[in-house]
């Protein structure tokens, strides 16, 4: 006979709102072998934990069941409580009555019944549980950071600063990310490149950082402390070990492509570095635009390269890395505004999106910092349209958080550079941040015209001679209650920040959850904003939600600390739930040896039976189900334990 204690959590109202907790407790108290059943508002709190620890001693409990949130949330917490109270941690059972019960129905009767069934199953299973001894494994001390924008750069630098090795994986030919494209940063208006490029250089110079540009994560295997990350190095057709960054090849190259960095507003060569301060300063060849790859002849870069670094035969290669922790800092994409035809982007050349205008401001940009439009004119009137796709139920319901502030920045810079009329068409002005409201106040003094209303359309259809040759922005001015037509030379759209196009693939690779848009989900929105449901994988920056630079950098620094908490340990506790062979029942068929992906089982030829190496076993249970004589026992998930739980569940 075991002595079971059941603790049912209210989780404030999260559980108690739909599950009648007292009724469940009374039910649990009457189950066989249950000695005590209690309820508490927050079992995970210190008093809640003390209640459990106290009861273990008071009632001499040898099993505890905590009916609360998901085991993925607090199983570790309660295991620690048990250990501290002298009870083996594997004798703790978590019953998920929040994520898989109270949160997924509004019906009290249904939720209460399900909670009872789940606890009944847990009691059946708990009776058959056995104490297990944990194992410890070595932790790989290195960290992989995915994404070389400001988030990834900051994370890598912080981790490297304590002497840990970091692999910084970036998919484009240079690090820097979106921040490198910006001209000025709000609200201080300091030059983006001036604050970013020293950090980029610091990455290059840091011996603890291995920079992997033009690389993509191809595969992630393993688990916290021991990830195996496979990186695909895309063919650059330039041997970077030989290249001395003289860039003579770039100068001579006849190929022309659209500069991704300049958002297609300028051309780049087929062999190129994305921008003058790119890190590394070594070029790559873009196959799509290279004359040799298209026509089969040219090879000018090869002829000119004194280092003989050009290699047209280069193919993609793979790098295998072992790491203890991974930080995903993969950033965001701007929403494609073309489908929002009412704003005319792509149809009217004078309509620009936010990143394009950033490049126009930049002195190293396509227009050398002059605000001139595609037709060569300098605009005399400009309308900046907020919330394009953001705060919009048809597109992205959320606020992209940075657009109000950068639109104010644009207004300031446009005033400064063109002295023209600048209109801000906004729904609400959101300036929550240090120095942001002050920046807004400053702009209110700068003769910028603020119109409270979301732009409805941008059209070329004029109604009077004054509008001739202009784009007309139509808007309902919600302050005056009047419909307005604003004729302007140039329109700037502030599109939604959205998850990367391939965020879902990345999420799958790293086993992350995503929200309905595709942003990576944090473990807890308030208390674990950088951790994920996958131990050892952390997130930072705009891949989690739209964010400005200060928030991104803070998160990145935090993610570095999180990763270090993993890799600064030499050993890590592993689940004790491994498989074992009951030699008396083993027929020596070798099924287990064949199926195990970790080579944990092997044949003891002398005895004619299989044996499992616990150090290699990960506890998946594949072999147990393959064993024809049921000789393999998966600890903590034995046939008897699983079937007992099923029996308990099916009684209600």
């Amino acid at each position: 006979m075991s002595r079971i204690g059941v603790f049912v959590c209210h989780c404030g109202l999260n559980i108690a709102k739909t599950v009648r907790v007292s009724e469940v407790v009374e039910f649990a108290a009457n189950l066989p072998e249950v000695v005590i059943a209690e309820e508490y508002r927050f079992v995970c709190s210190t008093p809640g934990q003390e209640l459990i620890a106290g009861d273990i001693k008071k009632y001499n409990l040898d099993r505890i069941i905590v009916a609360a949130c998901s085991p993925l949330m607090h199983e570790k917490t309660f295991r620690k409580v048990a250990e501290a109270a002298g009870l083996n941690q594997y004798l703790v059972t978590i019953v998920n009555i929040r994520e898989q019960c109270s949160w997924v129905t509004e019906d009290e009767d249904v939720a209460t019944k399900k909670a009872k069934a789940l606890i009944n199953g847990a009691v059946y299973r708990a009776r058959l549980l056995a104490p297990l001894v944990s194992r410890f494994i070595d932790v790989n001390p290195e960290v992989v950071v995915v994404g070389g924008g400001i988030a990834g750069i900051q994370t890598a630098l912080e981790i490297a600063a304590v002497g840990r090795k970091v692999y910084l994986v970036e998919r484009t030919p240079t690090i820097g990310g979106h921040m490198a494209q910006f001209d000025k940063t709000f609200p201080t208006l300091d030059c983006s490149a001036c604050i970013l490029t020293p950090k980029m250089d610091a990455v290059l110079q840091n011996p603890n950082i291995e920079l992997l540009t033009y690389c993509e994560v191809a595969e992630v295997k393993g688990f916290v402390g021991n990830f195996d990350v496979k990186i695909r190095q895309k063919a650059r057709y330039v041997d970077h070990a030989k290249c001395n960054a003289c860039l003579a090849c770039v100068e001579k190259c006849p190929g022309k492509g659209e500069s991704e960095f300049d958002e297609g507003l300028a051309k780049r060569k087929a062999i190129y570095i994305p921008f003058p301060q790119a890190v590394p300063q070594k070029p790559v060849i873009d196959r799509e635009t290279c004359t040799y790859f298209i026509k089969g002849k040219c090879r000018l870069c090869e002829k000119i390269c004194e280092q003989k670094a050009i290699d047209y035969e280069q193919a993609d290669s793979y790098i295998e890395i072992k790491a203890g922790a991974i930080v995903a800092a993969t950033g965001y994409d701007l929403m494609d505004v073309k489908p929002l035809a009412q704003y005319g982007y792509g149809r009217y050349p004078a309509v620009y999106h936010a990143l394009e205008i950033e490049r126009l401001f930049n002195s190293a940009g396509p227009t050398a910092g002059k605000v001139v439009m595609r037709d060569g004119r300098e605009p005399q009137s400009i309308a900046i349209l907020h919330c394009i796709g953001s705060r919009d139920k048809n597109n992205y319901e959320y606020c992209s958080r940075v657009c109000c502030m950068y639109s104010l920045k644009f207004a300031h810079l446009l005033k400064e550079k063109t002295h023209g009329d600048v209109y801000q068409l906004y729904i609400d002005m959101r300036a929550g941040g240090k120095g942001y409201e002050e920046f807004y106040s400053r702009l209110l003094e700068e003769d910028v015209k603020f119109i409270r209303g979301k732009a409805a359309t941008v059209t070329h259809r004029t109604k009077n001679p004054e509008e001739e040759g202009k784009l007309i922005v139509e808007v309902d001015d919600t302050l005056t209650g009047k419909f307005a037509r604003i004729p302007v030379d140039m329109v700037v759209l502030a599109p939604a920040m959205k998850p990367r196009a391939d965020a879902k693939d990345m999420a799958r690779m790293l086993n992350l959850s995503t929200d309905k848009y595709g942003f990576f989900m944090e473990k807890h929105p308030k208390l674990a904003p950088l951790s994920t449901m996958t131990d050892g994988v952390f997130i930072a920056g705009a891949c989690q939600s739209p964010k400005d630079i200060p928030d991104t950098v803070s998160q990145a620094t935090g993610a570095a600390a999180e990763a270090l908490t993993i890799v600064s340990k030499a050993k890590m506790e592993l689940e004790a739930a491994t498989a074992m062979v009951n030699a008396a029942a083993c027929s020596g068929c070798r099924n287990c040896v064949t199926v195990c992906p970790y080579s944990a089982p092997s044949m003891n030829e002398e005895k004619g039976v299989s044996e499992i190496n616990e150090a290699l076993c990960k506890g998946c249970g594949l072999c147990a189900a393959a064993c024809p004589t049921s000789a393999i026992i998966t600890r903590h998930f034995t046939n008897e334990q699983v079937m007992a739980e099923m029996e308990g569940l099916m009684e209600f």
Binding site: Q100, V104, E106, C620, G621, A624, F637, M646
Partner: protein, 139 residues
Amino acid sequence: MDFEPKILGIACNWCTYTGADLAGTTRLKYPQNIRVVRVMCSSRINPSFIFRAFQLGADGVLVGGCHPGDCHYGTGNMYARRRLAITKKMLEFAGIEPGRFRVEWISASEGNRFAEVVGEFTGQVKGLGPQTKLKIKTD
């Protein structure tokens, strides 16, 4: 009263169980006839579990694992896929309608998929009525 089926879910820890949690975190609503057992990997599922579930009175059994190729343990769900395909045939042989057993690959990010599948499956099992073929009569 309407027939409310009993559905046993068996979900792998890494994908489908986490996906089910996500359905909760995002407050999706789905029928609560399902009772989920967590195993570490869908490959842990011994076909006898499925038969036992029907013996215990389950009207339907839903198995969830990682998408093929995404298994936390590399190849576990590939084995599970084959085993459970055969299990389904054996169930049919034993007289269990194919509609009472379903295997789905639901990732940790597919909370909505979990809710959808459970909703669909519950409706389907409801339509098939109580399962009596393998149920062991206790009363």
